[in-house]
């Protein structure tokens, strides 16, 4: 049995999905977190239920790509039960989608989410009244607090069916629908469903295609004529008339079913917003808050953890492990493999985990509270100046975590052109994997100034993205005016569960990476520093595979201040995962030789280059998937790497005039 969760963006579908299926999918308090369907099987009373979580949609006339996914899914897959999740703090607009879903004619259950919030305000909903008006089962729940979940499970497994197929009562609309039905029927077909007939009135192309595919002799011209003729009776186009009517019906229902306490209109969200989106203070506050986050992460507090971890690794674990190997008569090469390869390669990256967790803790809280949508609101004009929609802000922010989900999140953008631009620019947002590189260099070259140096990396990423957006807008991706209509969700208290889930996921992913790809990369790097390209024992590192490959491309990086073969080859191995840059360097360099190989300026230049150059292989394949064509994929990668070279060149050469 298949159950599809569907509802407006940010109404809590994924939280309910997690509760129903015991999963840990990513949630956040802004529209557009879920961009792909996900499913899980749960067994209840010997029946296996297939629960599907779909991206949020506002209506069934979809706009952006992830909305198309949801619409197609419930229309075309054999969904047995539609579980319509409705946010009670925003009932009127949420029920608009409900009135459309009813018309599909499948068994439907409405889950009134955030019901605890409504009760706390001492409001009340007459559930029985709502059920009779909408003609289907309505269940108050709180997915967050695990309230009412059992009732949903019971309702899903019960035999109740919908008692209405539509709430539309406007005689003009009903008559027009009948006209369309009659027309299709007159060609010897059975009567088409209400849903598709209404969509024909709204001039929906997908519905027309559906009718043509499933019914005999559908005549587009005749249907057009019916739409035009019937439209003369009403004031305005059909889409306006139908949407207005739906909302009128909802208003009428809620007037009876929603019992509201009288109260002042200024909400807590308004008060918070007075400060956070203030005309003058909003932008300074935004940057100050970000600086604060970085100061905690990389200042005294975060450094204490990083230093502690480094101490444990270098002075405790490595020493103890080396003794252990020596005492057990391990051969020299085994000792070298561990002490010179695996432990520095994997361990160095692991020592930065505490700082990554601290940074992600703050990002998780900002997401959960609802600040991200505000950030999009205050930044929209700046982003538009460079050809991006404010909606692109959400994937950009996600890019600070990891480019892969961020690139996928560009699906919320409405036009192909906007998506392409956002995909090219999103990897410039410094992802978590690049953090170990900055931390390592900051530790060796910028003691005391870690916060400002690392913060500047993030700012450089943003500024470069803006400048590149502007350049692309003027050249290959010409501006088309795209709409920006974004819901600003009410602020909500962050939940321990959500923050914990995100941190656990980050830490888990990091450990998995360390135990998998980083381990393998470290071993390969270690081996290839001892063999020549012809697989003979190398007499010096310079002649090894690492040395030769690095040596060949090193001249490219000489103008940037780091033309050594070690630095060059670590940029190549970094393609596997950006952390591998750190692994490679800590195998090829000792701390002393690393300090000798860079100046603070060339170190900074190197950090800038790793920030901007082509993303890791997973991000690369995601870009390919989302761009759809190789042409755009290669363009993206070439563009990013060129930009990285140019910016690092400017940093090194202009910086050289001052330092």
């Amino acid at each position: 049995m298949k159950i599809a969760l569907i509802g407006n963006p940010n109404c809590g579908k994924t939280t309910l999905y997690n509760t129903l299926t015991n999963s840990n999918a990513h949630v956040g308090n802004f529209p557009g977190v879920t961009v792909e369907k996900r499913e899980a099987k749960v067994k209840y009373k010997d029946v296996v239920y297939d629960v599907v979580d779909l991206p949020g949609i506002y209506s069934l006339s979809p706009f952006s790509q992830e909305e198309v996914i949801s619409r197609n899914y419930i229309l075309e897959e054999d969904v047995d039960v539609i579980l319509n999740v409705v946010d009670v703090s925003n009932l009127e607009r949420n029920l608009y989608l409900t009135t459309q879903l009813l018309e599909i004619g499948k068994k439907m259950i409405i889950a009134l989410n955030f019901y605890d919030v409504l009760e706390a305000r001492e409001d009340e909903i007459d559930i029985k009244e709502l059920e009779s008006r909408l003609g289907c089962k309505v269940i108050p729940i709180s997915a967050k607090k695990n309230m009412g979940i059992q009732n949903i499970v019971d309702a899903v497994s019960s035999e109740v069916i919908n008692k209405k197929h539509s709430v539309i009562e406007n005689p003009n609309i009903l008559q027009a629908v009948e006209h369309i039905r009659d027309n299709i029927r007159s060609k010897g077909n059975h009567a088409p469903d209400f849903f598709n007939c209404i969509k024909i009135l709204e001039e929906d192309k997908v519905a027309l295609k559906y009718l043509k595919a499933n019914f005999r002799d559908v005549d587009t011209k005749e249907l057009d004529r019916i739409v035009k003729n019937t439209n003369e009776k009403v004031n305005g186009s059909w889409d306006i008339v139908i949407a207005s009517h739906r909302y009128e019906v909802i208003e009428k229902i809620l007037k009876i079913a929603y019992i509201k306490e009288t109260r002042e209109e200024v909400t807590i969200s308004d008060k918070i917003d007075k400060v956070l989106t203030h005309k003058i203070w909003a932008l300074p506050l935004f940057f100050l808050a970000m600086y604060g986050v970085f100061a905690i992460t990389f200042g005294a507090f975060g450094s204490w953890f990083a230093d502690g971890a480094a101490y444990l690794l270098d002075d405790v674990f490595t020493v103890a492990f080396e003794n252990f190997l020596v005492n057990n008569n391990a051969s020299d090469w085994v000792i070298s493999l561990f002490i010179g390869g695996i432990i520095p390669g994997v361990g160095m990256v692991l020592t930065f985990l505490p700082q990554i967790l601290i940074l992600f803790f703050f990002i998780a809280i900002l997401e959960d509270v609802g600040y991200m949508a505000r950030a999009a609101f205050i930044m929209d004009k700046t982003l538009r100046g460079v050809g991006l929609s404010g909606k692109a802000f959400v994937p950009m922010i996600m890019g600070f975590g990891c480019s892969v989900p961020a690139i996928m999140a560009t699906r919320t953008l409405n036009s192909e052109r906007d998506r392409r631009l956002a995909i090219i620019l999103t990897p410039f947002m410094s992802c978590g994997a690049r953090l170990p590189i900055y931390s390592m260099f900051a530790m060796y070259f910028f003691t005391g100034n870690e916060t400002i140096v690392i913060y500047s990396m993030y700012l450089i990423g943003v500024v470069v993205a803006l400048i590149c957006g502007f350049i692309l807008k003027k050249t290959v991706l010409k501006d088309t005016d795209s709409a920006f209509i974004l819901e600003l969700p009410p602020y909500r208290k962050p939940t321990v569960k959500n923050v914990y889930t995100k941190l656990a996921e980050t830490a888990g992913g990091y450990m998995k990476k360390a135990g998998g790809i980083l381990l393998i990369a470290s071993i390969l790097v270690w081996i290839s520093q001892y063999f020549t390209p012809l697989l003979q024992i190398a007499e010096s590192q310079q002649e090894s595979i690492m040395g030769v490959v690095g040596g060949v491309i090193a001249p490219i990086f000489a103008p940037l201040g780091f033309g050594t073969w070690q630095a060059s080859v670590s940029l190549i191995t970094g393609f596997v995962a950006k952390e591998v840059v750190v692994s490679t360097m800590s195998i090829l360099y000792t701390p002393e030789s690393l300090v000798a190989a860079f100046t603070p300026l060339s170190a900074f230049s190197f950090m800038v280059f790793t920030l901007l150059y082509m993303p890791c292989i997973v991000a690369f394949s995601t870009i390919k998937k989302e761009m759809g064509t190789w042409k755009w994929t290669w363009f993206t990668v070439a563009f990013q790497t060129t930009v990285a070279w140019v910016v690092a060149f400017l940093v090194y050469n202009i910086g050289g005039l001052f330092f």
Partner: protein, 75 residues
């Protein structure tokens, strides 16, 4: 008058949607901006655009250029 011309904290009633771009018009309607609905402009972003409207018990942010087809009257 047009929604995009209305000042902050002004309450108004939507009279007509004249947006020609069909996709944009659908989205405006879907979000509950239909003839007859009352709304308030709550604030504008620091750089003057976009602005936030409150309607049907929730907040929506909007670019001025997207609001040009929305005809309103002050109430």
């Amino acid at each position: 008058m047009l929604l995009s011309e209305l000042g902050i904290n002004k309450r108004c009633k939507v009279v007509d949607i004249q947006t020609q771009n069909l996709q944009l018009r659908r989205r405006i309607l879907d979000m509950g901006i239909t003839p007859g609905v009352e709304l308030i402009i709550a604030k504008t972003a620091p750089l003057g655009d976009p602005f936030e409207v409150k309607l049907r018990g929730y907040s929506l942010s909007f670019r001025k250029s997207d609001a040009t087809g929305i005809v309103v009257e002050e109430v």
